[in-house]
């Protein structure tokens, strides 16, 4: 037990700071992915919700692809695909260089693609929960379509979509672990290094799992706070 605590301590003999650095990378990656995923997901939901069939179809193809592919494969497709694409492009222009894509960026792009396709479904079902009268009301008040969307629809939409988006955030946190495979020093990778050096794999992977649980718990608390905040405007009945 004491030995385990020494291994986990911060400083010279411990792996605490390594693990902490890994946690930072994991959290940063998830936070960096979130805005892109949300915006992209919202735009796709708009497309799916539009009355234009071609736009709807285009959006549906997008979600079919990124919800059907394993996240790990999406990650490899982005990581190697972009690398090869840039190299081919440079070759066409006459340069011959070896380009390595930053694994953080590759992870961000891949996770955004996956997150956005799931988020679009969350937004879409929220759209369906908003009655037509809200649009008509906005129209009757003389608001432009853009104003109706941002001032009338969006605040209600966020409230309706929040539970599903909260779940997606928890999934996103877990999915960041996949980037350890393409070499990003996240929580799982750092735990793996520590495990190999100290020959205590159960301890370090166990700690990694507990940290993920802790992150999930913190997120749940935060999410329920946000949820309460969005319901501030609701009349008590």
């Amino acid at each position: 037990m004491e030995e385990a605590l020494t291994l986990l301590s911060f400083g010279e003999n411990g792996w605490g700071d390594t693990i902490a650095a890994g946690v930072m990378v994991t959290v940063l990656l998830a936070i960096a992915t979130l805005p892109f995923g949300l915006v992209l997901g919202f735009l796709i939901a708009l497309a799916k919700n539009s009355s234009e069939p071609s736009l709807k179809l285009a959006a549906n193809i997008y979600t079919t692809i990124f919800r059907g592919l394993p996240e790990l494969l999406t990650l490899f497709l982005v990581y190697f695909g972009v690398q090869i694409g840039i190299q081919q492009g440079l070759k066409l222009m006459g340069f011959d260089a070896f380009i390595e894509v930053n694994s953080f960026v590759a992870g961000m792009v891949a996770l955004s693609l996956v997150f956005s396709s799931y988020a679009s479904e969350a937004f879409l079902s929220a759209f369906r929960g908003i009655p037509q009268g809200q649009y008509e009301g906005g129209n009757a008040l003389g608001l432009s379509r853009y104003q109706t969307m941002t001032l009338v629809i969006l605040p209600q939409l966020i409230r309706l979509a929040l539970p599903a988006l909260g779940n997606l955030w928890l999934i996103l946190l877990k999915e960041t672990s996949l980037v350890s495979v393409i070499g990003l020093p996240d929580l799982v990778r750092e735990a793996g290094i520590a495990a190999r050096v100290t020959k205590e794999p159960f301890l370090f992977f166990g700690i990694a799992c507990l940290v993920y649980l802790l992150l999930a718990m913190i997120s749940s608390t935060g999410l329920s706070r946000i949820e309460r905040w969005t319901k501030k405007g609701e009349v008590a009945r």
């Binding site: 071609s54 736009l55 179809l57 494969l73 672990s177 495990a195 205590e200 992977f205 993920y212 718990m217």
Partner: protein, 275 residues
């Protein structure tokens, strides 16, 4: 819908042609992009069907596909069996049962499958002397068994929640009503409770299978040559990017096929609700 005028027999005039709004143009541009990329993908795959890459590796891909099916099938089956006691314990009134079950479900749903797999596969090494003493080391030494073990525990947690939700969803009155009608317990369960529970559980079960197929790609990281593992091996040997493209096509086909089958089953189960 306005019917044909009975006196003149005239049908409704055709709808006016839709205007080319910006949104419509945008939608068509996006579709054009999809069609172009789809066509170039088909061209790329078509021109590579006879390539040395495909000739060399296609059998490996078939093997990998079969391994993926085995992993998913076995894990889902073991997970389904495990999920029944967990769901029952989770529903139990006694905290001695419900709390550990809750802890189990919370742990396996709250941590990444990758970390769980590592914890079991690498972590078992920590307990090697103990495992050898009880004769289980042979089980945990093999990546294959570890993957099945980890995936089963993981999916059992998810399936337990699905099962619990489905059981809770069928009102007690259904049991009581059947009893009042003098229907025997097995018939009540199979003909009254199960179909209603399945209606709720079918969609989440389908999603769980799809999640498992996608999640099984993780097995490739600990040296299992499933579809993803064969893909990575083929890529590392050939440096040919089509390795990943073929895998993507295969996974998409599997998941889409399954999703369609599931839609059919759901339509069948809910046919009485259709209006």
């Amino acid at each position: 819908m306005i019917a044909a005028n009975p006196e003149t027999g005239q049908i409704r005039p055709p709808a006016p042609p839709r205007a080319w709004t910006n949104i419509r143009i945008f939608g068509h541009v996006l579709m054009a992009l999809w069609i172009i990329s789809g066509a170039s993908l088909l061209y790329f795959l078509g021109s590579n069907v006879a390539s040395t890459f495909v000739e060399k590796y296609w059998l490996k891909y078939v093997d990998g596909f079969l391994v993926t099916l085995q992993i998913v099938g076995l894990s889902l089956l073991v997970g389904a069996l495990l999920s029944i006691p967990v769901a029952l314990a989770r529903n139990s009134k006694w905290k001695i049962f419900s709390w550990p079950a809750y802890g189990y479900v919370y742990f396996f749903r709250g941590t990444p499958l990758l970390a769980q797999t590592f914890l079991i596969y690498y972590g078992a090494g920590t307990f090697r002397p103990e495992l050898e003493a009880v004769g289980l080391w042979g089980f945990f030494r093999e990546a294959w068994y570890c993957v099945i073990f980890a995936f089963s525990l993981n999916t059992a947690a998810y399936q337990a929640e699905i099962l619990r939700g489905a059981i809770l969803n069928v009102p007690k009155g259904q049991w009581e009503g059947a009893e009042a009608l003098g229907i025997s317990t097995p018939v009540t369960f199979f003909k009254i409770i199960l179909p209603q529970a399945l209606m709720v559980a079918l969609r989440p079960y389908g999603n769980e299978i799809i999640l498992m197929i996608k999640g099984s790609a993780i097995a490739s990281i600990i040296t299992i040559y499933d579809l993803m593992g064969e893909t990575r091996r083929a890529y590392s040997r050939s440096y040919d990017f089509q390795a990943y493209i073929w895998a993507a096509v295969a996974y998409l086909l599997i998941v889409e096929t399954l999703r369609r089958i599931w839609d059919k089953i759901e339509a069948r189960l809910t046919r009485h609700l259709k209006r």
